[in-house]
Homo-oligomer: 363 residues x 2
């Protein structure tokens, strides 16, 4: 293998793929990135066996070939080089990297041993605008569980229903759902939330479409010159739409920034009680107040004015409340619930595209 690439392109490609490579894995080659020529392009790939990312860049190829090299060293090294032309020259398993100022030899492992994900065959394919998909993912992905004992909850559900496409995630304590557009196919994909975090990174500021291709086992996302393949999670996802309350005995609408502030301050006093805060909505005074009691340190009550119908109180985890408030984007938020034991719904009063549910704590 012998070729020339620009530092800018090589650096960008390593930035896309290197994070998936992992030195903590038992297979040493999984800490490496696969560098491979194909016609006048160079592909860089990394995998952790669950997901694989490949980034294609332009290159001036003199001799075809391939090798795997330590991902972290390559990324740190190439990102430190000045912009300009880099010469790559493979001698057995040693990759020589040359610029005007630098001459390096990086010891590689033969490409034959690099694991390749199986190809997606006979799958369905459709597209969605990258930025719509990105915004939707950001609003739901954090609600997925990181507890591997219930694998389905570690996934983001991408599914169609009545002509619309939805993203949803829940860890059983809170649930987020976002409508991301119209789609008439029958889609129901359980995609690992960790793979969606990698996809978010790749989506960046791309203004193009994401092409989604899937079969029973895998899904492929194509964004510009980057491909991400991930295995799907197996299992039955909870029938979550029935958990979303449709009407509310108590509802308060207020400035989202106000609720964020009073929740933040109250959460400081709730460290000893695992973040537990009690929200009281008062129709008579048209206020929402939030109260924390921390026996050791002290206590706090904070108040904000709100448009209220129906009085009531509910105890929530302040961290979940802040996560939900930060995922919303409107100026105002509507906070609704039915008694102390049922789920609270957060939503933008001007839009029904995003719903965020939080289960109460026993107050």
């Amino acid at each position: 293998m012998k070729l020339q690439v620009t530092q800018e392109n090589l650096n960008r490609a390593l930035g896309s793929v290197a994070r998936v490579a992992n030195t903590r894995n038992t297979l040493p080659i999984l800490a490496n990135v696969l560098v491979k020529t194909s016609n006048n392009r160079l592909s860089l790939s990394a995998t952790n066996l669950d997901i694989a990312i490949t980034h294609y860049i332009g290159a001036k190829v003199s001799t075809e070939g391939s090798i795997t090299v330590p991902a972290r060293l390559m990324q740190d090294f190439i990102s430190s080089l000045p912009s300009g032309v880099i010469n790559l020259d493979l001698e057995e398993t040693k990759l020589k990297i040359k610029t005007d100022q630098y001459q390096s030899t990086v010891n590689g492992i033969a490409a034959d041993d690099f694991p390749v994900m199986p190809a997606i065959t006979g799958g369905e394919s459709w597209t969605v605008p990258a930025q719509v998909f990105k915004k939707g993912l950001q609003q739901v992905v954090f609600a997925a569980s990181s507890d591997e004992t219930r694998p389905v909850l570690t996934a983001v559900l991408l599914h169609s229903s009545e002509g619309n496409l939805y993203l949803a995630a829940t860890d059983s304590y809170r649930l987020a759902e976002r409508k991301i557009g119209a789609n008439n196919s029958q889609i129901k994909l359980l995609i690992p939330a960790t793979a969606m975090q990698d996809l978010l990174r790749i989506l960046g500021d791309t203004t193009s479409d994401v092409q989604v291709t899937h079969d029973e086992q895998q899904v492929l996302f194509q964004v510009g010159d980057v491909e991400l393949v991930t295995r799907l999670v197996d299992g039955k996802y909870p029938d979550y739409p029935k958990l979303i309350p449709a009407s509310f005995a108590t509802e308060a609408t207020l400035k989202r920034a106000d609720l964020v502030n009073v929740t933040k301050v109250s959460s400081l006093f709730a460290r000893e009680s695992a973040g537990s805060v009690t929200i009281e909505v008062n129709e008579e005074s048209q206020t929402l107040s939030i109260r924390s009691i921390a026996s050791q340190l002290g206590e706090n009550t904070a108040q904000a004015s709100a448009k209220v119908t129906g009085s009531g109180s509910i105890t929530l985890n302040s961290k979940y409340l802040l996560d939900g408030l930060n995922a919303l984007s409107g100026d105002e938020v509507t906070f609704g619930f039915n008694g102390k034991l049922e789920a609270t719904l957060l939503r933008d009063p001007t839009s029904d595209d995003y719903k965020h549910i939080i289960m109460p704590l026993k107050g």
Copy 2:
């Protein structure tokens, strides 16, 4: 105690002192900050028994008094409040904190139990411009040791010699010395480097002078409304000036940014050899080259052009080299040494105010 302060002032004062309070200490009151009225001022103090910081702010005091309250909670809480007036009202050991929107009760510990550092009596006093002192400290403090087995090396030496005032620090592997102005007193203070880190924070952008007052055991720094007292380190500091080489068999002068870049890149390949890199200065080719050999990963050589007198090579720890280069501030750096076994000196070719020495590794 009953008073009014502004959120801005209280927040600024907590920012100065709270970091010294420590929850890991065995004395619970050391995690607290002392809040105390004196005439129409409020003082906030924290101590770890080695150092104490006090910040004075204006306040509208109705009833005098004092209390200690958890530093971290206070800082997080006050910094989250909107700007404006805050009412403080002490009831027994409960500090009530009220604004328009928030009502908090913070549980305190009586001020009588708060340890106070002994006063400096009959000490000498002089001043130095805050920004000169700050810049000088930044250039030497990182070279102090963190190894408590040789306490003198954990100090920064502030001393006078032949009418000049110097800051110096060494961990026995590298040494930094900075001239910070003229002073005809006899000064020799060993100040804990950790206290100097706190002082750096306090100096901030202050354009005024620092007033320094010291006796045999302690030194007090006064900067505007803030006071920092620290105990001095006991012991005999190495006679370091004799370690600074005066002439060089090999000298290279080059762009400081160039040497930073080639050192950074080479250090990536030197992770397995504890950062060891070999620098080769060549008079014939007028170049400085830097080489790292990492058996597992690979190796790297990088080159920069330089004005060279005398060829030679020396092996250094790349981390120390980068620290030294980053502490210098000129466009160019002069790198001088005498053979493989003696110290290397880094300096600005246009100024003799700052000297940085690095001991070689066995190549």
